[in-house]
Amino acid sequence: MAEQLQDHPLELLSCLQLSAAKALLRYRAPSLAGALQPGQFLNLKIPGYLLRRPMAPASQEGESLELLVFSRGPATLELMGGRREVMALGPLGRPFPLPPPGAGPALLVSGGSGAAPLLFLAARLRAIGVPVLARHGSRDGSEFSLAQRFASLGCSAEYFSEDGSAGTQGRPTDRLPELSGVSCAYAVGPRPLMHQVASACQRAGVPAWISLEEPMACGVGACLSCAVQTAQGQRHACVDGPVFPAAEVVW
């Protein structure tokens, strides 16, 4: 087997703060140019932390890529703090399967940082001429700009806030659109969100994919920390996923 696993330097270009704990970071990553597919992730080495942090890029264009970082703890805060260079192991994991070019509209439902891989996916889908219905939700209005991002990619985008402070009040899974017109669906976010989309799609017979954010140590299949239960038995999110057919996940 050739040595395919590499650590890539990401060099910070800019940081767009969405709120105190949410930011869109743009990096220069020449050695990764063209290598990433939507849904795949990078495992980031953050100085001072023993474990790397997995992140699914929100875009890649030529030598630059974006990470949408939601801080849950000090390591992600450190990342948002504007560290100039981080090392990224990857690309890791399996990407979202794409529908054939020109297929009917795809439904993308995201919550929180789940927007990251779906933004990347939306760009790819639009590039192959697939219409996209994007629904993004958050507790408050702080992520409205992510819905705008979907829109600027040419998606029909709707924003949901639980507190009603921006977009539609409610959740992106509320009153899902008529699924009969949809060719496929993708959902990334909290488990209940993904589960609801999965159930609706299963009822409507629409193929759907989700991405499981499991705690990961190695990211490459060596430690067995990321076990997930599927209809096919136990799988490991880092190598068998993080993207799984929604119908196969044991919720």
Binding site: L50, A217, C218, A222
Partner: protein, 304 residues
């Protein structure tokens, strides 16, 4: 010395190790994943994931939690069972030009022996995992009971000619269990396994790990590993495979001075997949500067 310009070669158990640095059980699976990062022949050896007679699913998720300079894991010995590895993985691993140590686990002495009996020709050494805190509710039925540990070693010695390393826990019974294993026919000692720890999430107010508790590894436990290896060296003449928190050549050298003939790199690989080969390179340079070979360093802290 002339035949070994690196100063890293080790001859033990009738085997030649190109260098004394192996990868620790459970952090390197059966080698395929990190073979994508570097050729495994750069390593002194690979210690496989714990292998039981039949497949085990392991514990409930989540299975890892970070701690200050450490990692808790509660994998719970997930593995496909020895037969699967005899088919797919071990033949491949044996071709990679590095020493192969199979980590053996069973719920009973008979189960250990069942695995050990199948490994002749498939491994250079067996490491008997007597000390996993993630099974049997953390009670360590073997590593806290010299007689039970001895029985595991004796039953395995009955069914294989491969050298057997007894993998010990850093608990109060360390030295008694080591002595019992030696008398039962162990060829060497392996130390240390992880220590039972816990984290609790402030949001959910529940333990972070699915099983509540897990084993602590990583740099945090380095000084405990040094102490245990030092004590083992004082009380036993068996070769020692040392591990626990090693991430730099200086850490490896510290375990050597304490008494480790070989060392293993575990958790450090998660932070840096190249940790082990980098350490080997730096060890050669570092020892060169000190004008010492690895074997001269082994046990140095015990000499006057």
């Amino acid at each position: 010395m002339t035949a070994d310009p690196t100063g890293l070669e080790v001859e033990l158990f009738g085997l030649r190790f190109a260098n004394p640095v192996l990868t620790a059980s459970g952090t390197f699976n059966f080698g395929r994943e990190y073979a994508q990062a570097f050729p495994l022949r750069r390593l002194g050896g690979v210690i496989t994931k714990g292998t039981s007679p039949r497949p085990r699913l392991g514990n409930a998720a989540p299975r890892i939690a970070e701690t200050p300079a450490g990692l808790l894991n509660s994998i719970g010995l997930e593995n496909k069972g020895v037969d699967a590895y005899l088919q797919g993985e071990l033949p491949w691993l044996r071709e990679q030009g590095t020493r192969v140590v199979v980590n053996v686990f069973g719920d009973t002495p008979a189960e250990f022996a069942e695995v050990a009996a199948k490994l002749a020709g498939h491994a250079d050494l067996l490491e008997l995992n007597l000390s996993c805190p993630n099974v049997h509710g953390g009670s360590l039925p073997f590593a806290s009971d010299p007689a039970a540990a001895a029985e595991v070693v004796a039953r395995c010695a009955d069914v294989t000619d491969l050298p057997l390393l007894a993998k010990l826990a850093p608990n109060s019974e360390l030295l008694r269990v080591a002595e019992a294993c030696e008398q039962a026919g162990a060829s060497g000692l392996s130390a240390i396994n992880t220590l039972l720890g816990m984290r609790i999430d402030l949001q959910t107010r529940r333990p972070v790990l699915g099983t509540g508790m897990g084993g602590l590894s990583g740099p945090a436990i380095l000084p405990l590993a040094v102490r245990c290896i030092y004590q083992l060296r004082q009380s036993s003449s068996l070769p020692i495979l040392g591990m626990g928190g090693v991430r730099s050549w200086r850490d490896a050298a510290e375990l050597a001075m304490a008494g480790a003939d070989l060392v293993a790199v575990g958790t450090a690989t998660f932070n840096d997949p190249w940790a082990a080969p980098r350490l080997i390179q730096e060890l050669a340079e570092g020892l060169g500067q000190l004008g010492l070979s690895w074997t001269e360093l082994v046990g140095a802290a015990h000499r006057d």
